[in-house]
């Protein structure tokens, strides 16, 4: 039997993958949106306690981490420009810098959290229940959830970028086909933007 055959096209539609990524970013924003709603409700109910608790956070580390993420967003954006000029070496280098910056962010976060744990501040701690008001407990509960979930997104973003680096190194991503690299950049910017909101909410406003 003879089949009538036709060629399967290579279904590459950069526009579609970009729309897909944007839609996914919507869902991520709503995921954090739920947390921002909870934060605003409890901040409204416990303004004093939130003020007191925020004093305990290390504003210096917070600022350094903000700068780190802003720079990493710049480097991943530069990587997207570099691939369009087909400069593979530079692309890989810029992505590597992004990943290293992300790692630095996590190391800082580790020391920051570690210091809090050392002071007996962690979810479910007896020390907190005995010495803190309910508002302060809520503040630190939200602090750990929101920065923790954000750190998880940093890790996912790093994994995504490393995956794209491997593909770039193998030549699967090049100046004609770089939607995936662009998407990893979009995701990284999202992670960055969420931090831009977390930073003032927890560290700056009083």
């Amino acid at each position: 039997m003879e089949h009538t055959v036709h060629q399967t096209h290579d279904h590459y539609d950069p526009e579609a993958s970009k729309i897909g990524m944007w839609l996914f970013i919507f869902t991520e924003l709503l995921l954090f949106g739920g947390l921002f709603v909870i934060y605003s409700v409890y901040r409204f109910l416990n303004p004093e306690a939130f003020h007191l608790a925020a004093e305990e956070l290390n504003r210096a580390i917070g600022t350094i981490n903000t700068i780190i993420l802003l720079v990493s967003s710049a480097t991943i954006a530069m990587a997207t420009s570099a691939i369009q000029k087909n400069n593979k070496r530079q692309t890989l280098l810029l992505m590597l810098v992004t990943v290293l910056l992300a790692l630095t962010f996590l190391v800082n976060k580790y020391f920051e959290w570690g210091a809090k744990f050392g002071h007996g501040i962690f979810p479910g701690s007896e020390h907190m229940i005995q010495t803190m008001s309910k508002g302060e407990i809520l503040f630190f509960g939200l602090y750990f959830i929101m920065t923790g979930l954000h750190a998880l997104h940093i890790i996912i973003g790093m994994a995504f970028i490393i995956f794209v680096m491997v593909l770039t190194a193998r030549g699967k991503i090049h100046s004609e086909r770089f939607a995936l690299l662009e998407n990893s950049g979009l995701y990284w910017h999202l992670v960055d933007v969420i931090w831009i909101f977390l930073f003032p909410l927890f560290y700056l406003i009083h």
Binding site: V5, T8, G20, L31, G33, I38, I145
Partner: protein
């Protein structure tokens, strides 16, 4: 890049093996039609489990006092029944099965935009289902909170709740990815010439559904994560002992779970909007009104969650607002019913099984919808809140609406999916038995609720006995109808007479391809001309 492999255009998707053999040609397939059947079969299994649990509950309620199970087993049974039916059947049901199978064909595409992501969604679905099953089989005690996982009981109960909550979270993720895939597919892959206003109505409802899946599911996702963290660490956000507010949990939960009702019902309405024009052989009445009402339901449905909480404690202003918004949703729903009926008017109606299901859908949907207004009004809601009335209402919508549409859809598209026709006499018998059983099962619950029988109790006062017996008998009749339907379909999928490519004389694109369709659906990409449309009869 791989060399392009030729894919034959005259081999059906059921026969084409691809590079894998046996079961692997299914579970590794990225063909949207095979994935649809994967969903169909996995849902069938979970649906039967859910039905058995439902039957067990009705059997328990056949007489006052303990009949077959203890109070705490009853709590576990209605919880697992709810979790399975909501998160695994009615929320993903029509999009995952019929959306996957038909969306690409109806818009003239070869597949969805992201076929691999589509397969991944099914794996995530299976993972979520396994997690829920694990919560039943392992740990000390089956979850007993009800499918809503209300705080603070959800982190106080000693039962094995974590896997169930996480399972619901994972199932939500699967639903998000499916919605995302459909939205992109509809934006990017419509056939040349198929403008938005020429797109069939089922894809339109999938589009609306996709947006709700995308915008509502993450909120419940984070809420479920928070309940889990509350259980593990005691972070305090929903725990009044630590300053949290359990009512806030209810708000966040229903911000998703009310729109989820529209995730369920919109594609059901879409399927009905396809069936009715085909069996009336007439252009659908008010195409634009149906599209607009679909989007209106998707939009307004986002702002009505508070009506689940009228008695939970909220301000009078909030109550009036939510009540008003709830009434607003009734308008687009009524527009749709009006359009379906008008489509039938002066059509040449063919009484086939799918049409019976569609007609009975309208009947039960009306009862479910109008009883919803009783619950949406403040005064009456306080009276019937948390009674059997509510159970009757949402089963009329969720099981009557979505379930009837699902059965209508499967009888409508069965010849397309399997290339064979079922026994129509048996299918009609199954329908009427199921329909009668359904009414006998749920209608008495309206009466019981009005008389004050609370929901979620394994026991009741003697004066409720007669209506409960009727309801339990109804559950048996309905189950019998279901058995007839399933046996007929299963047997026909293998042994039924070969079906024509267009047995119902439908005009949408899926009826232009062979039954069952070839792997990539179309030998040549269809093109819509100036005068073409999805419902051009005569």
């Amino acid at each position: 890049m791989q060399a392009a492999t030729p894919i034959p255009t005259d081999v059906s998707y059921l026969e084409y093996k691809g590079k894998y053999k046996g079961i692997f040609s299914w579970i590794f397939s990225t063909d949207h039609k095979r994935i649809a059947l994967l969903y169909l079969y996995s849902m069938m299994v979970m649906f039967l489990v859910g039905v058995l649990l439902g039957l067990a509950m009705k059997l328990e309620l056949i007489a006052p006092g303990k009949t077959i199970m203890e109070a705490k087993d009853y709590n576990a049974v209605f919880t697992v029944h709810g979790v399975i039916m909501i998160f695994m059947i009615v929320v993903p049901g029509l999009p995952a099965v019929f959306g996957n199978f038909l969306l690409p064909i109806m818009i003239g595409a070869k597949d969805v935009a992201f076929p691999k992501l589509n397969l991944l969604s099914w794996y995530i679905y299976v993972l979520g289902a396994l997690l829920v099953i694990a919560s039943v089989l392992f740990g000390n005690g089956t979850p007993d909170t009800g499918w809503t996982f209300y705080a603070p009981y959800s982190f106080k109960t000693g039962t094995n709740l974590l896997p169930a909550i996480f399972g619901a979270f994972v199932l939500g993720f699967s639903s998000i990815l499916t919605g995302l895939n459909f939205i992109v597919t509809i934006h990017r892959m419509r056939a040349p010439g198929m403008t938005w206003t020429k797109m069939p109505l089922f894809p339109w409802t999938l589009y609306g559904t996709g947006w709700i899946q995308l915008l509502a599911t993450p909120v419940v996702g984070i809420t479920l994560v928070l309940v889990s963290l509350e259980r593990i660490f005691g972070i305090g956000v929903f725990d009044p002992a630590l300053g949290g507010d359990p009512i806030l949990y209810q708000h966040l939960f229903w911000i998703y779970s009310h729109p989820a009702v529209y995730i369920m019902i919109l594609p059901a309405m879409g399927a009905i909007s396809e069936i009715i024009p085909t069996f009336a052989q007439k252009h659908v009445f008010g195409y634009r009104a149906i599209v607009a009402s679909t989007l209106a339901i998707a939009f307004v449905g986002y702002f009505v969650w508070g009506h689940h909480m009228f008695t939970a404690g909220m301000s009078g202003t909030a109550q009036y607002t939510f009540s008003l918004l709830t009434f607003l949703v009734a308008i687009p729903s009524a527009i749709k019913v009006f359009n379906w009926i008008s489509t039938m008017h002066q059509g040449s109606i063919r009484l086939e099984t799918p049409f019976y299901w569609a007609a009975s859908f309208i009947f039960v949907f009306m009862i479910g919808g109008l009883s919803g207004l009783v619950l949406g009004s403040l005064a009456t809601d306080v009276y019937v809140h948390d009674t059997a009335f509510v159970v009757a209402h949402f089963h009329f919508i969720v099981f009557g609406g979505v379930g009837f549409a699902f059965f209508g859809a499967i009888h409508y598209w069965f010849p397309k999916m399997f290339g064979r026709m079922y026994d129509k006499g048996l299918a009609n018998t199954g329908w009427i038995v199921f329909f009668i059983g359904f009414l006998a099962l749920y209608a008495p619950m309206f009466y019981l609720g009005m008389k004050g029988m609370p929901r979620r109790y394994y026991d009741y006062l003697p004066e409720f006995h007669a209506a409960n017996i009727l309801s339990t008998l109804g559950s048996w009749v309905m189950a019998f109808g279901l058995v007839i339907i399933l046996i007929n379909l299963f047997r026909s999928a293998k042994h039924g007479p070969k079906a024509d490519k267009n047995p119902w004389n439908g005009k949408t694109l899926e009826w232009t391809v062979p039954s069952p369709p070839p792997v990539e659906n179309f030998a040549e990409t269809p093109v819509y001309g100036e005068k073409d449309g999805p419902y051009e009869y005569q």
